[in-house]
Symmetry: C2
């Protein structure tokens, strides 16, 4: 019996290049045991010793840090099929936390299993690529937050999420499911929920976006990307 998300990691890795059948089977084997995590729950917290690696098979999760003022900075958003902390176990303790944003299906993978996966050259290459892309996304977010005004930031991020969702086959006719609150988006972009709301309202009025039932429809992708100064180069998609 195939659950719809069973192969999200395969889908993700095939964004880099095709995988041998044997590798696909191995991955499906290794991602059998999922557990359901409710929204807004830490999967692993700052200061903890990382035992397992965490893979999201359904839902949205994030990497974040809290600052003294109590504000949260989201450092990365994880889509289905993405690892939260693939290599982190090399370090002795977490310097940030991982948390769900929506309810998630999570797989906890012991490091030995990761080593087993890395023995397959195609998988190893794809994981490398995926790690480097994660870093590139992080860099792009830094450029966003450091040097782009709110409107551009929001448009850039939504452009990015759209393309990443599309690469995973998670878009349908220009729209995708995105159950983040505007406060979540603000925490990812170094803004406040109020600013994010103002930008989104603007983009809706301009006929570029539509938002209904936590579903975002990109009505004019070219325009959205132009506003966001977005180019997909940094995602290094095949």
């Amino acid at each position: 019996m195939v659950t719809p998300h069973r192969n999200m990691l395969v889908r993700k890795l095939e964004g880099f290049g095709p995988l041998p059948d044997a590798d696909r089977d191995l991955i499906e084997d290794l991602t059998q045991e999922t557990r359901r995590v409710p929204a807004q729950s830490d999967i692993i917290s700052e200061g903890q010793n990382p035992e397992n690696v965490h893979l999201i098979l359904d839902g949205l999760a994030c990497r974040y840090k809290l600052v003294d003022s109590g504000h949260r900075q989201i450092l990365a958003i994880f889509l289905p099929g993405e690892f939260c902390d693939l290599y982190i176990f090399i370090l002795k303790q977490m310097d940030h936390s991982i948390s769900t944003l929506t309810a998630c299906d999570v797989v906890d993978i012991p490091r030995e299993v990761i080593f087993r996966m890395l023995e397959r050259p195609a998988i190893a290459r794809a994981l490398w690529w995926s790690t480097l892309v994660d870093e590139a996304i992080l860099r792009e977010r830094l450029v966003d937050i450091g040097r782009r005004p709110a409107r551009v930031r929001v448009a850039h991020m939504l452009s990015e999420i759209y393309v990443r969702m599309q690469a995973l086959g998670l878009t349908e006719g220009g729209s995708f499911d995105f159950r983040l609150t505007q406060t979540d988006i603000a925490d990812a972009l170094g803004l406040t929920n109020v600013s994010v709301n103002k930008v989104i309202m603007e983009l809706r009025r301009d006929g570029i976006l539509d938002v209904t039932n936590s579903r975002i429809s990109v009505l004019n992708q070219d325009e959205l990307q132009a506003i966001g100064q977005f180019s997909a180069d940094y995602l290094h998609l095949s």
Copy 2:
């Protein structure tokens, strides 16, 4: 004849743990051929195909991106002994540029040589560690820029640079050489040179810093770290 920087990579890697003598010798062998690059020159530019890996043995360099408005965002600052782009050759083209901030001694290392280094377990482990720390620094910078006001940002960054310099043995009695312009610092922190200047003047008036001849003296490290909400945890030293 030992030039003072010959072993900066060794010093860097020994921040993680001791290296066998043979590994140290290998590294010294592989970092013989340095070239002098003047300040403010690109070492490799966005869009180029990465052939070599670049190692800084003397001077300061950075990773940066330019945005449409013409502003620069510095994504990372490289100290002596640090690689600019260790694994980047896995990707087909650079999504950012690397440039010197001051005059630098640079080593260009072909990927084959990197693979040779990675065959030594101690070196491989240390390079892994160093890569993960680079990422942690990037994340911390994102938190800075996203959620901390200018004064905190500047204090945080100077605290970090001080500790990194210290780990490399590049501090002397609480001071270190730092030939960046205030505009460079601003570009790293998502600020303007004017804001950076105001913060630095303030810190000087408060007796926390002193700046003379491009040399920064940290007069009160505890206070600086407190202002910057800095904790060295994310640098994962030793």
